[in-house]
């Protein structure tokens, strides 16, 4: 291959290609996007694996994420420190999982994480209420919200603990016809 790029070593690029669903070109492009968010912080040379993280505020202002009601949760789920700052690896990870080529099971894992607002590994009623409010911009009345959340738990909760565990969530989402097409960000 021709172009000599000095951002990553060949081994790094190969590793990225192994671990994500992106091609070489796309990874370089992602680096470009990551760089232009904070050019004075992100180095152009990643060969030495610099430890650079971008704060959540920068990431959620990306045009791909700006209109998404769950943008904070998305970034938090992929951030290693749980605070929402993403290193480049996390950044690539995030878009890889949300890309078209990621398999359903993988997406389901991360979707579960995103909708689990209090990160207790269960989607409980409070999580559902928060999700609903974000989806409808709080236009539903309190009783409508309660009704919907109760219905969701009734539909999906298989083991009867009153909240959705990962198995419940996966069982429900695996049958959803729209999941793969909506849980998709193109970058």
């Amino acid at each position: 291959m021709g172009n000599k790029q000095t951002i990553f070593t060949d081994e790094q690029l190969d590793a990225y290609q192994d671990c994500t669903f992106f091609t070489r070109k796309e990874i370089l492009r992602l680096h470009g996007r990551y760089y232009e968010m904070a050019p004075n912080v992100v180095p152009m040379d990643y060969t030495k694996d610099p430890d650079v993280k971008l704060p959540m505020q920068l990431i959620i202002n990306m045009p791909e994420l700006k209109e998404n009601p769950f943008k904070e949760r998305i970034v938090e789920s992929f951030s290693e420190d749980g605070e929402g700052s993403l290193s480049f690896n996390d950044f690539v990870d995030m878009f890889s999982v949300l890309s078209e080529m990621a398999p359903r099971e993988l997406k389901a894992i991360y979707a579960f994480k995103i909708y689990d607002f209090n990160t207790d590994n269960f989607i409980c009623k409070a999580d559902l209420e928060k999700t609903l409010n974000k989806l409808t911009r709080e236009e539903l009345t309190a009783e409508e919200i309660t009704l919907v959340c109760e219905k969701v738990i009734e539909e999906a909760d298989m083991d009867g603990d009153g909240k959705l565990g990962f198995a419940d969530f996966e069982n429900m989402i695996s049958k959803a016809p729209d999941f793969l097409s909506t849980f998709h960000i193109r970058i």
């Binding site: 192994d18 989806l135 236009e139 409508e144 969701v152 298989m158 999941f179 909506t182």
Partner: protein
């Protein structure tokens, strides 16, 4: 025996090692592992030695093949990582043998994955150009569909039932466009281009008596004057058998196009109904997760545009509200007897209303017939029928709605009932209109005989007089404007329909303007200086009247179908009307209407509207068919003038234009002896198909029931898990195919694999401990656990319920150390450690 195998494999290794130096490492490692495995297995009696060694050979061969295909470096790294992971997996507390087995499987699968990842990836690249082209074409096609964005906007704010009206409107526009193209291209254009021009024939000229007023606006507005004698109406067309250099058979074309208008409409309506029926049976299966899917899969992560996001929020909210309404309806349980009684009562009341209005219309029509015979009729008497009909049309629908409040139906069903009732009311209107028209036609037919004689004698007289002046020269033809004209009932009928359509358009638009827009302006601006809150109380903003608009559309189309045979230009007027209607109504809805208080989902199939349309189609076919078959055409206007019946044109064409045998065939086919058996055959086919379709429906329902029962059983099983014997629980869990252990290795990402390996096997170790001592290949064959151990350990279910004896929850989450990429160590309770 073992040595020989080792030697063989060594030879293979050597051969390949000459090619790739870096693979030496992997082969050596593999041999090392393989040797270890072999040594372990030779100690066991119950496992065949051939199996693992064969597996190893296969894996080696496979590796050779795959590496030859390219991307070897990647493979090496994979192998090294896989062997690295397999080395680290030694730390798992499984028996050596199980470890080797698992390792083999994992390695095999990883190799498989790497090959798979290569090949399909390249294929996808190759295919993708074609796929891309198809996708672009689909996008282009969907962009060509007009008003898609507009309708989506309406849908997101007002719900799917209001949007379904606009979708119906758009569909009607499409159908009318096709009909217009047919009529315009095959009838109007040929006559205008190739037929005789205006003024050359009596039928194409304004009569002398009317010529001064022919250009007046009021006359034109009534569709008299120049418009009457134009290609818009039946009377303009000449009955010449062939016209122009193309020898275009205009009368035949006129007749055929008239019939095919009905044929095409019928085909399109039935096709649409069939398609809707298909769709409605396809789903209905996935009713189980409606709210869950709405919550987790409705937001489209691809949205980046703020306006689109706004629309999406609105549509999600509306969609939730619709489902909530559905849910609340299904939860209502009331006194069923009271409900039934009220419904019967409501129906009785409404039937009384309908009968009353029917009688009223009949009475008024009879009166108007007597009035027309009298002199000195006032304005009221002349227009009594129209006034009564308008009043009925204005007051009965709200009356029906108030009575329907007794019935307490789901709004969707209530809408259907309302539509049906207003339909019955409008049928009364139709009846009177047709009756009036038939009276008119009969009158004109009677008049025609008289005029025919007059015309005949006038022309004769003109000939004689002009012959008297100049004997040798042919007499100058009488100016077309002076020829006495027949009443031409067909054009009159056409004019009536056109007038009706135009007044309908005007009334609709004015109603929308006043009833919705002016009302909205009034409520909005006068609210500041009014005693009570106009927005909350009376009159408030209008809601979009779905039933009224749909019925208006359907009846309008019926009028078009009835009138298009006698006024070819009518379809063009309708196309214009539908086009402007779309924009006008979209604007009116978005600016002056509020969403319904109870937003409800449109019924999945649009078949109700289609059914109404079909009914109207048949009703409008009948009068036209009757007039074609039994009334004689006018003698001096239209393409069939001079014939005894309109359908004689077919006979004429067959005789003169087709070869002889075609005429013979037609005469045989028209024989009743052939037609009656054909009809019988069709009836039998319909009966048979009906029976077959019922059988399929029954089978479908049974399958659905079975699936439903299965789902409930599964749910009950899971719910009752805690109550059953824990040992049986273990057994059950083990017996279910442990696809969970096999799915982690399938992940193509190493990092993800590691985190998943950290997660799912965490569920397994509990069972693994239970089955200490028995081979645990994939969790199967685990039926015989020694009871003592089973009581001590319990499988880790999600949401750890039963604490282990003396242990307050040994490990944190069911999912283990998942976040990030690190591969955490699943912790085990001390008594399970080896």
């Amino acid at each position: 025996k073992e040595d020989k195998e080792e030697d063989e494999s060594k030879e293979e290794d050597n051969g390949s090692q000459q090619n790739r130096a870096c693979r030496r490492k992997n082969y050596q490692r593999r041999n090392r592992d393989g040797k270890k495995a072999r040594e372990e297995e030779s100690q066991k009696k119950d496992r065949g030695k051939t199996a693992p060694t064969k597996d190893q050979k296969d894996s080696e061969n496979k590796e050779k093949k795959t590496t030859k295909r390219g991307k070897e470096g990647k493979k090496d790294r994979k192998n090294s990582t896989s062997s690295a992971s397999s080395n680290s997996s030694d730390e798992e507390s499984l028996s050596e043998e199980e470890l080797a087995m698992l390792k083999e499987q994992v390695e095999q699968k990883k190799k498989l994955i790497s090959t798979m990842r290569n090949k399909p990836w390249r294929m996808v690249k190759k295919l993708s150009k074609w796929v891309k082209f198809k996708r672009d074409f689909e996008n282009f096609k969907t962009q060509c569909i007009p008003w898609e964005m507009k309708i989506k906007e309406v849908e997101s704010h007002f719900g799917s039932s209001v949007a379904s009206y606009f979708i119906f409107l758009r569909w009607m526009y499409g159908v009318n466009l096709v009909l217009f193209a047919l009529i315009f291209g095959l009838v109007i254009i040929p006559e205008v281009l190739m037929g005789m021009p205006y003024g050359s024939l009596p039928r194409k000229t304004v009569p002398r008596a009317e010529q001064e007023t022919a250009m007046d606006f009021s006359v034109l507005w009534d569709f008299e004057g120049y418009i009457k004698y134009s290609a818009l109406f039946y009377g303009y067309y000449n009955n010449q058998r062939t016209i122009g250099w193309l020898k275009y058979r205009l009368p035949m074309a006129y007749f055929t196009v008239g019939i095919s208008v009905f044929g095409y409409s019928l085909m399109v309506v039935i096709r649409s109904m069939a398609r809707n029926a298909n769709e409605s049976t396809a789903d209905g299966d996935d009713n189980n997760f409606i709210f869950s899917w709405k919550m987790f899969t409705s937001w489209d992560y691809l949205i980046g545009n703020p306006e689109t996001a706004d629309n999406k929020f609105a549509s999600i909210t509306t969609s939730f509200k619709e489902s909530i309404v559905d849910e609340q309806e299904s939860n209502k349980d009331e006194n069923i007897h009271l409900r039934r009684f009220l419904r019967v009562l409501a129906n009785v009341l409404i039937i009384c209303c309908l009968c009353g209005s029917g009688y009223l219309i009949y009475f008024v029509v009879k009166r108007s017939q007597t009035f027309s015979k009298m002199q000195n009729v006032g304005w009221y008497e002349r227009n009594e029928v129209e006034i009564v009909m308008s009043l009925l049309g204005m007051f009965c629908p709200p009356l029906f709605e108030t009575i329907a409040a007794l019935e307490n139906y789901h709004p969707r069903i209530g809408l259907k009932w309302q539509l049906g009732r207003i339909f019955a009311l409008f049928l009364g209107n139709l009846y009177t209109f047709l009756l009036a028209l038939m009276d008119d036609v009969n009158e004109k037919l009677a008049e025609e005989d008289v005029v025919k004689n007059i015309t005949h004698w006038t022309l004769l007289g003109h000939h004689n007089s002009s012959a008297g002046n100049a004997s040798a020269v042919t007499p100058p033809p009488l100016d077309p404007a002076d020829v006495p004209r027949g009443p031409c009932w067909e054009t009159t009928v056409g004019i009536e329909f056109v007038r009706l359509t135009v007044s309908d358009i005007l009334v609709t638009y004015i109603t929308i303007l006043v009833g919705d827009f002016i009302r909205a302006c009034f409520v909005r601006f006068v609210n500041y200086c009014w005693c009570w809150d106009l927005e909350a109380g009376f009159p408030s903003y209008a809601e979009f009247d779905i039933s009224g608009n749909v019925l208006g559309l359907v009846f309008n189309q019926g009028m078009i179908w009835m009138g298009s045979f006698y006024a070819p230009g009518l379809v063009g007027i309708n196309v214009l009307r539908l086009l402007t209607s779309m924009y006008f109504q979209c604007w009116a809805v978005m600016s002056s209407n509020v969403p319904h208080a109870r937003v409800f989902k449109a019924s999945k199939s649009n078949n109700f509207y289609m059914g109404l349309l079909l009914l109207i189609l048949f009703l409008s076919l009948l009068p036209v068919a009757y007039t074609i078959m039994s009334l004689p055409p006018s003698f001096d206007c239209g393409p069939f003038s001079g014939k005894k019946r309109m359908y004689d044109v077919i006979q004429e064409t067959i005789e003169l234009d087709f070869p002889l045998f075609v005429a013979k065939i037609f005469s045989y086919v028209a024989n009743p002896g052939l037609i009656i058996p054909a009809i019988l055959l069709m009836v039998l086919t319909i009966y048979y198909l009906n029976a077959v379709s019922k059988a399929y429906q029954r089978a479908n329902a049974e399958l659905k029931k079975k699936m439903q029962m299965q789902r409930e059983e599964e749910k009950n099983k899971r719910n009752n898990k805690a109550s059953t014997n824990p040992m049986l629980q273990d057994l059950e869990d083990l017996l279910t195919p442990s696809t969970k252990t096999e799915s982690p290795p399938k992940q193509a990402e190493d990092k993800k694999t590691e985190s998943l390996n950290g997660s799912s096997p965490v569920r397994k170790p509990g069972r693994g401990e239970v089955l200490a001592g028995s081979p645990m290949a994939s969790g199967r064959g685990a039926a015989f656990t020694p009871p003592s151990q089973a009581f001590v350990t319990q499988p880790r279910t999600l949401g750890v319920r039963a604490p282990y004896p003396g242990q307050p929850r040994p490990w944190g989450h069911p999912l283990g150390p998942v976040p990030g990429r690190g591969r955490g160590q699943p912790c085990y309770p001390p008594w399970a450690a080896r």
